[in-house]
Symmetry: C2
Subunit: 283 residues, 2 copies
Amino acid sequence: MKFSKVAILGPGLLGGSIALALRERQLAAEISLYGRSEQSLEGARRAGVTDQMFTDPRQAVEDAEVVIFCTPIGAMPSLAETISPALDPFAVVTDVGSVKGCVVQALEPLFHGKARWVGSHPMAGSEQAGFAAARADLFERSVSIVTPTENTDLQAVEIATQLWTALGCRVLSLDPLVHDQLVAQISHLPHLVAAALVQSASTESLALIGNGFRDTTRVAAGPPPMWTDILLSNRTALESVLGRLISTLEQARTQLQSGDEKGLHELLAQANHVRCQLGGQKK
Amino acid sequence: MKFSKVAILGPGLLGGSIALALRERQLAAEISLYGRSEQSLEGARRAGVTDQMFTDPRQAVEDAEVVIFCTPIGAMPSLAETISPALDPFAVVTDVGSVKGCVVQALEPLFHGKARWVGSHPMAGSEQAGFAAARADLFERSVSIVTPTENTDLQAVEIATQLWTALGCRVLSLDPLVHDQLVAQISHLPHLVAAALVQSASTESLALIGNGFRDTTRVAAGPPPMWTDILLSNRTALESVLGRLISTLEQARTQLQSGDEKGLHELLAQANHVRCQLGGQKK
């Protein structure tokens, strides 16, 4: 499989990694990249990873077979309005947004009749941001989720699936709102909790940390504006799982207060059993 | 510096790693190891890391210059009573317990007039347990805390400090209860929260996890009985920091509900600022 032209909108960690991986795996005859400013494209330019670079997104998407939004979620709707007149109506358009309900709701109607749109979420990333952190192997052995709706063109789903598979992902298809509920549990809630753990720790205690604290809170080093955007975009699902977590922690507090060894052991043993099956870092 | 004889009580991750490190760095003329059963000593026996092994702790500590308790906290008091008649009164006795207030309270009077006791807590470990996970470099670039009280022999503090320094640690001295408050923030609370995060995640969501969730919850794979013991032994300090964390999470829930972008960004930005200064894994 080789795409004729892939347009990547956004030269950050994910956009940059997609460009590097497409290039390394020779998956596209042509790669074009859009960045908001010449400065934002500087890293990609130095890496010489794309054939064309533009600060006008309409030029970037011209004649593209596949278009991938790699911008913050909040920037997607206006960018979609800007590019839609310039798209080939058979172009497959997707994105890498970490929340899907709101993205699908905003983008699907915008692309109706103008291109073939389907949401994606490659579950790969890092606490680092920007093209400097991009890696050709970022997606290898990751999960990528596609989120078609009843309005989605089936061939677009297939092409998006081929794209992520070709980049090294295992691809799953989920309803956008189901996606948001699951990802709230394993990504958005852990991020919020990691931030709260860091914020709760005194400077004096931070002088003593070991690998446990470093690992538990690593994700809290992620970019705050992007994560504020993500958490608020998925607030309904996140509120719900956050409420459940607070209940679990309240229960643990009661167990500590009453010296309930059996109850506390049960929580830790259940978590231990599950966690031991999940294994370590993928690389 | 070389010790004449070091007795290690407990052949698990920490006891095993101390034995391996003492041997590799040639810090002891003789190393003896106590395990509850012949079976518990099997791993250390195969590794051939100590000169002597005993299932009677009194034999293990005979003529020892330094004795290190590497058992669960709950097992320390009765073991201390058993060995105290067999100790050289100039022996320096310490431990690796993760909680210090209760350990000092229990052990200091037991050793009064029988040996020179000081509490220690090397902040090194792993979610894995047992001799099989032991490593000679476990303590390198770690922090180890000694917790003398007004009753502690000053030379014992010095010898314990030399021991941990020789094993590769940076050594700090803290009041036992201050230690417990600080460690509650950076170790005991993160452990409890990691367990709660794992327990809150559905099986369906766990099929999608990436490195973020793996890191955030790694410590939850630690042994449940040991951690139940640790959390309950430090319940006063832990309850207090858990209460503060729950308040922070309640506040975040309110911010999500009201769409308070500024408030949520502030939490994430504060945490990001602090976390970015802490760096990555020490090895």
